[in-house]
């Protein structure tokens, strides 16, 4: 066995935990007839995951596309930050700040590019949703 299968096992183990938890909840909280389909689905998925784990243990090292893990973390955390920012500051302000930061920090563009792109996109969102579609955008906890 080598390091590659171990790395590949992590997402499968995570899904296994989810499927196991799901099956236990189905068994403990649902009546016998309503739990039939969810429980069987959970257990069959768990079984398939077991087979996949077995396959991973047998697998030899496979050449995979290298992923820049820090960049991946930044990309995922920036989405999480965007969602948290929207909750706190509302959609428009957060999107303007998110675009500005993403384009300058991740996209490595100068403020001369980032400011108009962020400004025009935010303005476009405001015009389309608030003005044209008359759909009030989430104001955020601080401005509600």
């Amino acid at each position: 066995m080598n390091h590659r299968p171990l790395v590949n096992l992590l997402p499968i183990v995570a899904v296994m935990l989810f499927a196991a938890g799901y099956s236990i909840v189905a068994m403990l909280t649902l009546e016998p007839v309503p739990r039939r389909v969810p429980l069987v689905t959970g257990l069959v998925t768990l079984l398939l995951l077991g087979v996949e784990v077995g396959k991973q243990f047998k697998a030899t090292a496979v050449q995979q596309e290298t992923v820049d893990v820090p960049r991946e973390l930044i990309a995922i955390l920036s989405v999480a930050g965007l969602v948290a920012g929207i909750w706190l500051l509302g959609l428009l302000l957060t999107i303007a700040v998110y675009l500005l930061l993403s384009i300058t920090c991740q996209g490595r563009q100068s403020a001369r590019v980032a400011v108009p792109v962020a400004g025009l996109t935010t303005l476009g969102i405001y015009l389309v949703f608030e003005v044209m579609l008359d759909s009030p955008l989430f104001p955020g906890l601080l401005f509600d």
Binding site: N8, P11, V15, F18, A19, Y22, V25, A26, T29, L30, E31, V33, P34, R36, V37, P38, T41, G42, V44, T45, L48, L49, V51, E52, K55, V67, D68, R71, E72, A75, I76, S78, V79, A80, L82, V83, I86, W87, L91, I95, Y98, L99, S102, I103, Q106, G107, R108, Q109, V113, V117, T121, I125, V128, F129, L133, S135, P136, L137, F138
Partner: protein, 497 residues
């Protein structure tokens, strides 16, 4: 039917509908050109915007996107050897060699002719089959609905031969998620982890926007760079030669269109398989098959005829059974549901005119996309040079606003983001996303069908063998399992020997 068809045509040809159609075509072309985005992402992003629109306008826009993406995808396949959409990959095989020979315009001319001809063929077939589909659908009761849902999930999960097990796992996870919320047969809520937001189940639209639109963008922001690197080969002389070649090879167009429509109608098999089958069939039938791959115009015409015809084929199971034939159709199903249209037997009776409007929009879009594609090819190719790390945050932000605007619920933003990250991790770890989506859509139908059938049969599983339709469906499930597992078993035996 002719009256409703005429009324639908008038509705689509109204100035406002045409404007939405044109908007959809332009959006579809742009998303088609950019590799990795494609029709599914375009539809997922525009889906929330259709909320509040008239059904005809929403269908005009969706039809515009679906009709145009194929053309856009083939432009980057020919010019950059980077298929904008997966079904356009077959066009790369001879399209790019043609571009390298300085015959890019000829190839694009062939695409611009073969693609709408294929679309027209598919639409005519769809119009002929639609009246029959209504009668076929009425043969379905709870046991048949359970079996067809299982068939849809199984055939999609097994459609990628190299990822059989992972497809089934993704389907299993999708099913588990589909059971979250209110139990429509027995009552009570399940798996909501105490959240009132989940009482109605996992909303489909945020899940689709996340899994397809956002996941691709997260990937693009990690990879960085521009989508493509070079647009030097863009020349626009020789278009007429490509158009002439398409009409000269009408048999190839007919065969490709038929393959596209038929294969497109099989849930989960999808457009990529259709275009490659069309390509390989034409290659096999040719007197000089060895010359394919070196720049044969027939190698562009065949897959392109199938490329647009597949959409009409995929519409059939989507409308008749609520089983999307492809990821694009899964998102389109979201548009139907958003406008209160429930796929199934009633859809043809209640929304016949709207269905015809969609069919007409698809045809017009294919023609319009070809004309606009030819006029804007140089600028469309330039979009692929936009930096991924600039494009991605814009698309992510717009997607989240769109998702929120549907029901004005903050929970939808969180859910779209969670599914976005999940979709990215699935791509990263080589898990197919389509089985998860199909299972998420069909899970409730499958469970309801099963529970109702068991009630009708008083707990006797023989209820699933009570009609010829259910026996045929059972055989289809067994056949699709065998079709996928047999080659694997043979490979293993050969390997052991």
């Amino acid at each position: 039917m002719p009256e409703l068809l005429a009324q639908a045509a008038l509705a689509v040809l109204a100035p406002q509908s045409l404007m939405f159609l044109l908007g959809g075509v332009l959006f579809g072309l742009v998303f088609g050109v950019i590799p990795g985005l494609g029709g599914t992402t375009a539809l997922a992003i525009l889906l929330p915007l259709t909320f509040g629109m008239e059904v005809t306008h929403a269908f005009a826009m969706a039809g515009g996107i679906m009709g145009a993406v194929a053309m856009g995808g083939s432009i980057s396949a020919i010019l950059l050897n980077a298929p904008g959409t997966a079904p356009s990959a077959a066009t790369c095989l001879d399209g790019y060699p043609l571009a390298r020979q300085g015959r890019a315009a000829e190839a694009i001319g062939a695409v611009a002719t073969a693609s709408p001809l294929g679309g027209l063929f598919g639409v005519i077939t769809l119009l002929l089959v639609l009246p029959l589909a209504r009668d076929i659908v009425l043969l379905f009761g709870p046991p048949e609905f359970f079996l067809i849902a299982v068939f849809g999930i199984v055939s999609v999960a097994l459609s990628d031969g190299s990822k059989l097990l992972r497809g089934l796992i993704a389907g299993g996870v999708g099913l588990m998620l589909s059971f979250v919320g209110y139990d429509t047969v027995h009552g009570g809520v399940r798996f909501t982890v105490g959240s009132e937001y989940l009482w109605d189940g996992i909303p489909l639209i945020p899940a689709l926007v996340g899994l397809f639109g956002m996941a691709e963008m997260i990937g693009l922001s990690i990879k960085g760079g521009s989508v493509a690197a070079d647009t030097d080969s863009v020349r626009l002389r020789g278009v007429a030669a490509g158009i002439r070649a398409t009409f000269r090879n009408w048999r190839i167009v007919g065969r490709g269109s038929l393959i596209g429509t038929l294969v497109g109608a099989i849930p989960g098999v999808g457009g990529t398989v259709a275009t490659f089958i069309a390509y390989s069939t034409t290659r096999k039938a040719d007197r000089d098959p060895e010359s394919f791959g070196t720049g044969r115009i027939e190698g562009v015409i065949a897959p392109e005829s199938a490329n647009n015809a597949k959409d009409s084929g995929a519409l059939l199971p989507t409308l008749a059974f609520g089983i999307p034939g492809s990821a694009e159709m899964a998102v389109f199903l979201g548009i139907l549901l958003l406008h209160g249209m429930q796929p199934g037997p009633a859809i043809f009776a209640d929304n016949e005119q709207d269905i015809y409007a969609l069919v007409i929009a698809l045809t017009l879009a294919a023609v319009l996309a070809s004309v606009i594609g030819l006029l804007t090819v140089r600028w469309l190719a330039a979009i692929t040079l936009v930096r991924g790390r600039v494009l991605a945050p814009i698309v992510i932000a717009v997607s989240l606003v769109g998702v929120y605007a549907i029901e004005l619920r903050y929970g939808d933003i969180v859910l779209a983001a969670i599914f976005g990250v999940l979709g990215h991790l699935m791509i990263r770890h080589d898990f197919p996303r389509l089985p998860l989506v199909i299972a998420l859509i069909l899970g409730e139908t499958a469970e309801r069908g099963f529970q109702q059938a068991m009630m009708i049969g008083r707990g006797d599983p023989a209820i699933f063998l009570h009609s010829p339709t259910s026996i045929i469906l059972l055989l289809l499930i067994i056949a699709s399992l065998g079709w996928s597992l047999l080659p694997m078993w043979r490979r293993r035996r050969r390997h052991q020997a």
